[in-house]
């Protein structure tokens, strides 16, 4: 049955749990590593970025007050649904990154395992990053990590799925809401991931995924008054990274600078700790 005409997909943005086209009406061509046409992806505008911030702020309210147990289960659910789509992800990653069968499978399996790893942290990181403090006086004093708020992230350009998942998971497992800009040249694994997120009990607005040009969208996010932190991991231009840091300073945003780590190695708690605030509470002790 080789003569069946396949049903192709329209690739869209993921904002507030919905799949809109870019409000600008623009798309850009996505090719595989052999330069074969794959799709027209939405080219998000600054307005799409601002819509995503609104959605993320709404998502943050619900997500940050969810129990740690619940957040862990939701992230684990994302891994479960990804596992069910494992073949599709392998195909996507192959086309996007030009990897062979085996390597592509290894990357996808690592991405799923990475989510499971972070899902398990949901109800543990507060025990590692928080503590009680033996102050010199009659006070009970404890320190806990809390989510920073709305985070804007630029996903790695080369590692279109594993890198993406490794950026997303630590931000959301700690209760933050996220706007992530997928790899510009290989956005398709990220778009497939949005279909997973939409069916994995992730509350609307917690993870928003934009496709397009980071240089166009990120300055608006870096200067946005309702964005609390930016993760520049996937920014490849030093000039852009510097510009974004300067914009971020206007509202004292937390900044993670660009990085190209080996995504296959198990991470430390660094990313997770980058997007939490440390809160300390005092109360007198007395009869």
């Amino acid at each position: 049955m080789n003569d069946r005409v396949e049903v192709r997909k329209t690739y869209k943005l993921f904002i507030g749990g919905a799949f809109p086209r870019s409000e600008s009406g623009r798309t850009y061509e996505v090719h595989d590593t052999d330069d074969k046409f794959l799709a027209n992806a939405a080219k998000a505008s600054r307005k799409d970025g601002r819509d995503a911030v609104l959605a993320a702020r709404k998502g943050f309210a619900a997500w940050s007050s969810a129990t740690a147990y619940n957040r862990g289960q939701v992230l684990y659910r994302v891994a479960e649904v990804m596992e069910g789509r494992r073949e599709q992800f392998i195909t996507d990653v192959q086309a996007a990154e030009g990897l062979g069968d085996k390597k592509s499978a290894r990357v996808v399996d690592s991405a799923i395992d990475r989510l499971v790893w972070y899902a398990g942290w949901a109800d543990k990181y507060a025990q590692v990053l928080g503590n009680t403090n033996p102050v010199a006086g009659p006070y009970f004093n404890f320190t806990i990590p809390e989510p920073t708020g709305v985070v804007a992230a630029v996903a790695p350009q080369d590692s279109s799925l594993l890198g993406l998942v490794s950026v997303i998971a630590p931000i959301v497992v700690t209760g933050n809401a996220l706007i992530v800009i997928a790899s510009t040249k290989c956005p398709i694994p990220a778009i497939t991931l949005t279909e997973v997120l939409a069916t994995a009990d992730v509350p609307n607005g917690v993870i928003n995924v934009l496709t397009g040009d980071p240089a166009e969208i990120t300055p608006w996010l870096a200067s946005h008054g309702d964005v609390n932190a930016i993760d520049l991991t996937g920014v490849t231009s030093q000039d852009l990274a510097k510009q974004l840091e300067i914009e971020a300073a206007g509202t004292v945003k937390r900044v993670r600078r660009p990085a190209q780590p080996n995504w296959l190695t198990t991470p430390d708690l660094g990313r997770l700790a980058s997007f939490v605030e440390i809160k300390t509470v005092w109360h007198p002790i007395g009869a």
């Binding site: 403090n133 937390r254 991470p267």
Partner: protein, 489 residues
């Protein structure tokens, strides 16, 4: 009813102030290259206390080079156990010379001797004692088995708690193996310079601590110096933002402890007398020159009148005057410039229609003073409810429900601290969770301890000082390349 007090002056004989001070570079006092000096003034008398050196670019270069040499050759390779012993020595020396530091701090800063003696100096010593013990236990800091220091740290501190802020900055940096170039605020250099003597008495290796005096230009030269690996700044949000901009695109790490506009929230079930003490501690401690001051009082409507009346009564018993008098509650405003800022905002409060009440106290003829001031009928839109005044000025607002209190408290770009007064445990914990601020004081206010992390949310800055969390501002994973990317948090 008024009580007459006989003056109870702390003797200043314990302090000997030199006519002029050099810069402390590589373990020695040296003259500034420029030869430029500026005066430091007792804000309570306007008397010139001493002449202070202004460090220029070549002084900054010399200090950074000295810190780098000390880092490479001595401090970063010394065992944690030995670093600890130097820090313990410093803690002990501060305790031994505590009275001297307290008197000098009060002379140079204007704060009451009661506060410098009972809070600033003992807490500074405690900070060194606490972090001394960390120096040989850094593998327990949560950053892997062999966490590494960052290198040379540039530290810029404010004038409101000069010695205490020095301790908050130096102790964790040194414990972690970094060396330091520190700049005190230009109006309060003297205790930092006396601390340089402590470094000498402790035989701290030359270059581990360098102290450069000067104003904003000197600070900028430190921030922009290529030989610096990390900047720690405490001060205004405006300057903090300019530092964050200046470090953009570099590999330097940054922690910022900036301004605040804390809500102190009193519920109708709170013990009013205790709450009134907490309100006074919250905003009139250190003349209100406190970044975490409880400068916005949020009163539940049903108890607002009663609480304001009790507060006014209490404020009439506060004694404003000679900071060296042990009975003094309210000292001098640190500088003419700061007094102008406070008075400008008081005028704005009047102009915007808030109702002002000023405590009846006699203002001395000499020096810079501001009587405790309360504004009622304040709205969220007023400048006195939005901007950090950094003086003894309290803005009072009201609320009806806990939700409204949370909304009002959080409606600020700042997020350093907050206070909650209630007898209901579940409400306190709920409020503590809702408030977007780094330090929450419940049924208390303005408590500090070396084991307790301090720092802000939002535009109050990032990074923590104090506690185990304070270590991560000066350490990095030894071998995680991913970790090197952590910029400003």
């Amino acid at each position: 009813m008024t009580f007459e007090y006989a003056p109870a002056l702390e003797s200043r004989a314990i302090v000997s102030i030199a006519p002029s001070y050099g810069l402390f570079i590589n373990g020695e006092f040296v003259d500034p290259t420029s030869g430029k000096m500026f005066k430091t003034i007792n804000p309570a008398t306007e008397e010139v206390l001493a002449e202070i050196s202004e460090a220029n670019q070549s002084d900054v270069n010399a200090a950074v080079n000295s810190a780098r040499r000390a880092y490479d050759r001595i401090w970063s390779v010394m065992s944690g156990r030995d670093r600890a012993k130097y820090l313990f020595r410093i803690a002990r020396l501060l305790q031994e010379r505590a009275r001297e530091f307290a008197v000098l701090e009060t002379l140079d800063n204007g704060k009451p001797i009661r506060e410098s003696r009972d809070i600033d100096v003992p807490l500074a010593a405690a900070h060194f004692f606490y972090y001394a013990g960390w120096a040989d236990k850094l593998e327990y800091a949560g950053l892997g088995p062999n966490p590494a220091p960052l290198g040379v740290a540039g530290q810029i501190i404010p004038w409101n708690f000069p010695l205490l802020m020095l301790a908050w900055k130096l102790a964790p940096a040194l414990a972690c193996g970094n060396t330091v170039v520190l700049k005190p605020a230009e109006t309060t250099s003297l205790t930092a310079l006396l601390f340089a003597e402590i470094c000498q008495q402790a035989d701290l290796p030359p270059g581990v601590v360098n102290i450069l005096t000067g104003a904003g230009d000197t600070g900028r030269m430190i921030v922009e110096h290529d030989g610096i690996n990390k900047i720690a700044f405490t001060g205004s949000t405006e300057v903090g933002k300019s530092i964050q901009r200046a470090l953009a695109g570099t590999n330097k790490k940054l922690t910022l402890e900036l301004g605040g506009k804390a809500a102190n929230i009193i519920f109708d079930d709170a013990p009013i007398d205790q709450a009134v003490e907490g309100i006074v501690d919250g905003i009139f401690f250190n003349q209100g020159h406190v970044c975490c001051a409880g400068s916005r009082l949020l009163l539940q409507e049903s108890i607002a009148e009663e609480t304001i009346a009790a507060l006014k009564l209490r404020l009439q018993t506060l004694r404003l005057g000679d900071p060296l008098d042990k009975n003094t509650d309210i000292g001098a405003i640190n500088s003419r410039e700061q007094l102008d800022k406070i008075e400008e905002l008081i005028k704005a409060g009047d102009a915007e229609g808030a109702e002002r009440w000023t405590a009846p106290c006699e203002i001395p003829q000499q020096g810079w003073w501001c009587a405790p001031t309360i504004f009622t009928n304040v709205t969220q839109a007023h400048r006195i409810a939005r901007e950090e005044i950094f003086g003894p000025v309290l803005s009072v607002l009201t609320f009806r429900t806990p939700d409204e209190a949370v909304e009002k408290a959080n409606k600020t770009p700042f997020g350093l601290s907050a206070g909650i007064w209630s007898e209901k445990g579940s409400r306190i914990l709920w409020m503590a969770k809702q408030l977007r601020a780094g330090v929450i004081w419940a049924n208390t206010f303005n408590r500090f301890d070396p084991t307790s992390p301090f720092g802000g949310y939002k535009e109050s800055g990032f990074g923590r000082e104090g506690g185990i969390q304070g270590l991560s501002a000066y350490l990095q994973h030894a071998n995680a390349s991913d970790d090197q990317a952590r910029g400003t948090s």
